[in-house]
């Protein structure tokens, strides 16, 4: 199977591996992922991390665009409510993404494909567990065909 992002697919073996795009907030979730690395915890390499200043910076359009460009799942993660570095960014994000999830479910995207999590800088274990859980769930669902750009070549 050929996808837009050809680094993800081992074309010789034709083994499909899920690709998960993760938007992580700089102050909590990205630090959490960093801690997971520095404390040598293993997590699947299916995840592509995109660092953003705050979960409030993530536009729902980014999530749709990720699906269009071949993501099998999207993870959005930020500080726990009340812990935002910018005081209230994650509260706005919460409203946006709860509604986005409802909309995606309504048009028929499986709810496992889009997840939102609160992960703080000290929760490396939670980050590792989240990634493992998501990869397992999406592996069961198979590759995402919905919302995806067709290859015109």
């Amino acid at each position: 199977m050929v996808k837009n992002n050809n680094i993800e697919i081992n074309e010789k073996d034709k083994i499909w591996e899920p690709t998960i795009y993760a938007f992580l907030c700089n102050w909590c979730s990205y630090e959490g992922a960093d801690l997971a690395g520095s404390s040598r915890r293993n997590y699947p390499s299916n995840i592509r991390i995109i660092r953003v200043p705050c979960s409030g910076r993530i536009d729902p359009v980014f999530v749709l665009k990720s699906f269009e460009h071949g993501a099998d799942g999207v993870l959005v993660s930020g500080c726990h409510p009340g812990d935002c570095h910018y005081i209230e960014g994650n509260y706005y994000a919460r409203r946006k993404f709860v509604l986005l999830k409802k909309l995606l479910e309504f048009i028929g995207i499986e709810s496992e494909r889009f997840q939102m999590r609160w992960i703080s800088a000290s929760e490396a274990v939670k980050f590792v567990d989240t990634v493992k859980e998501m990869v397992e769930d999406i592996r069961k669902l198979g590759p995402n065909k919905k919302l995806q750009k067709q290859n015109l070549l």
């Binding site: 709860v98 509604l99 909309l103 309504f106 028929g108 919302l147 995806q148």
Partner: protein
């Protein structure tokens, strides 16, 4: 009471008192079952104004700068507008978004009995119509050779069937029109619930089919009173968020973005669905989001200009069951 006369008298008075320089209302369209928006700038033209069950257009769109022509023209003018409940609720959304100033506006509100969808009238003799009479709950169309009688409830636009006919109290003047009590038995979210019951793959099949018809004419955006961005995301080239290629994924992408952008501010005037040449059922998506917002945040759009739209505010205890 003749409603046309009543409107004309009040607008005439407004011009005499120099309260407005331009009045936005409806005039007779090319056919008897059509009405079109008109701009009255002189007292002599006031008698063009009409109001009947075919005045479907949402007039609030003409209030937004940029859409009306140039910025300077509207800054010095004081507009009067004939506002049905739909138009009035859109004006509330525009006030919330600081797009118009209440003091530049004279709102003449009018009760509405629901608007008639000409395409729902069976065997409509399109050109030979001599007159259309509205008597109580019946619509009688007199054509040269025949007389067609329809029950009003059968030929209303879908959006009108569940309308509560609620008028937010922002108008300067109100014309009491005979108002039919809304039918409380109709569930406004019935269509939404029907789709919710389907399994995910069936839902996707349904929406993929609907969106595949989109020809990306952007009529839904152009007609929408709350799509007031000076530069729309679809017109942006750097970075280009939405590819110009007309393929199913970009169509889905465009339509979903539009829903995400209007949710919480959309008052369900149904103009996007009405103008869509591909007849994409936008109202189903919009109603779904309206339902979720009402369930979670207890907010109904277009009723109170003092409140902030749900996505530009928050509460600490907002529901977040889906976030672990």
């Amino acid at each position: 009471m003749n409603i046309d006369r009543e409107i004309q008298n009040r607008v005439n008075k407004l011009f005499n008192e120099n309260k407005i320089t331009c009045f936005i209302g409806y005039e007779k369209g090319s056919f008897l079952y059509r009405a079109r928006p008109c701009f009255i700038t002189r007292k002599e033209d006031v008698n063009r104004l009409i109001f009947n069950s075919f005045c479907i257009n949402n007039l609030s769109i003409y209030l937004i700068n940029g859409k009306i022509g140039d910025d300077t023209s509207s800054q010095h003018e004081k507009f009067g507008i004939l506002a049905t409940p739909c138009t009035l609720r859109s004006i509330v959304s525009l006030l919330q978004g600081n797009q118009i100033k209440a003091e530049d506006l004279y709102i003449l509100a009018v009760n509405c009995n629901g608007m008639i969808d000409p395409y729902k009238i069976k065997k409509l003799p399109f050109i030979k119509i001599e007159s259309i009479d509205e008597i109580d709950d019946k619509i009688i169309i007199n054509a040269s050779s025949s007389k067609i009688e329809n029950k009003r409830i059968d030929i209303l636009y879908d959006k009108c069937l569940s309308c509560t006919n609620e008028l937010p109290k922002i108008y300067n003047d109100l014309i009491e029109n005979v108002s039919i009590k809304p039918d409380k038995s109709i569930d406004e979210y019935a269509e939404v619930k029907e789709i919710e019951k389907m399994p995910p793959d069936k839902r996707w099949e349904f929406w993929e089919k609907e969106f595949s018809r989109c020809i990306r004419c952007y009529a839904c955006r152009n007609v929408c009173p709350i799509c007031y961005c000076r530069e729309c995301i679809v017109d942006k080239n750097i970075p280009q968020w939405i590819s110009k290629i007309n393929q199913s994924s970009t169509n889905e992408y465009y339509n979903l973005i539009r829903v995400l952008h209007v949710m919480g501010r959309c008052i369900d005037c149904g103009e996007c669905e009405r103008v869509c040449p591909a007849k994409i059922p936008y109202r189903k998506l919009i109603k779904k989001m309206e339902k979720e917002i009402n369930d979670m945040y207890g907010y109904k759009p277009g009723l109170n200009p003092e409140l902030s739209p749900p996505l530009s505010t928050f509460k600490e205890g907002d529901p977040d069951e889906s976030i672990k």
